[in-house]
Amino acid sequence: MTTFITVTLKLLQGFGTTILIFLVTLLCAVPLGLPIAFCSMSRFKPLRWLSRGFVWIIRGTPLMLQVIIVFYGPDLLGWNLSFPRFGAVAVAFIINYAAYFSEIYRGGIESVPRGQYEAGQVLGLKKGQIFFRITLPQVIKRILAPMSNEVITLVKDTSLARVIAVRELIMEASAFIKTQALLWPLFYSGAFYLLFCGLLTLAFGALEKKLDYIKV
């Protein structure tokens, strides 16, 4: 029983880090995806290709590798700059998720009929007003399902942080194998992810219900 409590406490500690990675990534990547989406849709071709190339690289390589590159890369290049472990994870995760989000946003924005924009134009609205008052609410409605998918994936992706020894949930759980020859804490850790994702699913369900009045 005492082992169980010790393990639980240790896992909770790791889970705290997991949640922190999750929140920091989400808080920064959700807004950062928007300018990337705009660049990917830009009529100025060099900017568009730069942005799409960036998204291609980020989506085309493993997040684990990106974490490693952000952590070790600057030092290898001889720059006098290095990230702390958690910082490196945060930077890699934010960039990675912003790239994914930008594609979801782009799809959402492009799926709003042109007529909506034009209806705003003929009413004399400014571009920003059209975007925030007319387009964006419809985009949010449209992207909710793919966003919930991505956000739930993020919960589990946080486990990649251990590649540079950030002590998140999986890392704490697998430590018991070495120190006390216990395998079950690793399985037990799955319950934490499951619970967290369950809560997120409920939250997205509630949000979806709240936006039910928008039929697009």
């Binding site: 209806a119 004399g124 609410p137």
Partner: protein, 263 residues
């Protein structure tokens, strides 16, 4: 002939090309206050493009557009082609779309008030008289919705309304900012006959109270009844124009005759 100053709208040799395709060429016509002009013609004749040029959704390649004697657009004057100045010029015109284009996230009333509220923020006394201004806007929206017969649907979302009701909300929305000229782009093409009738009834009432309107339509009998003048477009030109009696009763060109026979 009436003088240019009497005209609410004056369109002079308007040109529009998409790539190498000439969509509008040498379009010229005028509109007097209270007139209803219908534009008829087969698909691809440039009717919709003309309407979109008037609402500055497309930039014409040549010609001039004057409203109340003020030059809104002159292809030869770069100052009138700037995107920034377009926003206020658009307010001279209202446009009702074929596909309604109501904002799905807003109720009927909110669809009508949105532009009024955003525009009111630009008034210098907005902060001081905010409550009063907003009350005025709500009252105006209610009056407009009453005008199109939808007082009891003010708090409904577009998806809760029939196509005809949606189009009437769109008409109220287009009227909200008090445009001098109201344009309709095939307003009943997406509606079945019954729903068309209620929208046409609304348009007829607007004609009766002297609204200046331009109506692109395939409803020939309606155009005949409601218009003061009819323009027949073919291949991007105004092929024939006249009173409804002239156009429908005594078409001059073979082109118009065969068009009328087939529609």
């Amino acid at each position: 002939m009436n003088g240019i100053m009497d005209n609410i709208l004056e369109v002079q040799s308007l040109e529009k090309r998409f790539g190498t395709a000439e969509v509008l060429s040498g379009i010229g016509f005028s509109l007097r206050p209270g007139e209803v002009v219908s534009i008829i013609g087969s698909s691809g004749s440039g009717k919709t493009t003309l309407l979109r040029c008037l609402n500055f959704l497309e930039q014409p390649d040549g010609g001039r557009i004057l409203v109340n004697g003020e030059t809104l657009f002159d292809a030869d004057d770069p100052a009138t082609r700037q995107e920034k100045s377009l926003r206020h010029k658009r307010l001279h015109f209202g446009l009702v779309f074929q596909s309604f284009n109501l904002f799905p996230q807003y109720t009927a009333r909110q669809n009508v008030t949105l532009a009024m509220k955003l525009l009111a923020k630009e008034q210098p006394d907005y902060r001081k008289n905010r409550a009063e201004i907003l009350r005025g806007i709500e009252e105006r929206a209610d009056a407009l919705l009453a005008e199109v017969g939808l007082s009891d649907r003010a708090d409904h979302y577009p998806y809760q309304l029939s196509g005809g009701q949606q189009q009437r909300v769109a008409i109220a929305r287009a009227l909200a900012l008090g445009p001098e000229i109201l344009c309709f782009d095939e307003p009943t093409s997406a509606l079945d006959p019954e729903l068309s009738a209620e929208v046409l009834g609304t348009i007829r009432r607007l004609a009766d109270i002297g609204r200046t309107m331009i109506l692109v339509t395939h409803e020939m009998s309606f155009a005949r009844q409601v218009s003061s003048r009819v323009l027949f477009m073919a291949d991007g030109r105004i092929a024939e124009q006249g009173t409804p009696e002239e156009i429908f009763g005594a078409p001059k060109s073979e082109r118009l005759r065969s068009f009328l026979q087939n529609s």
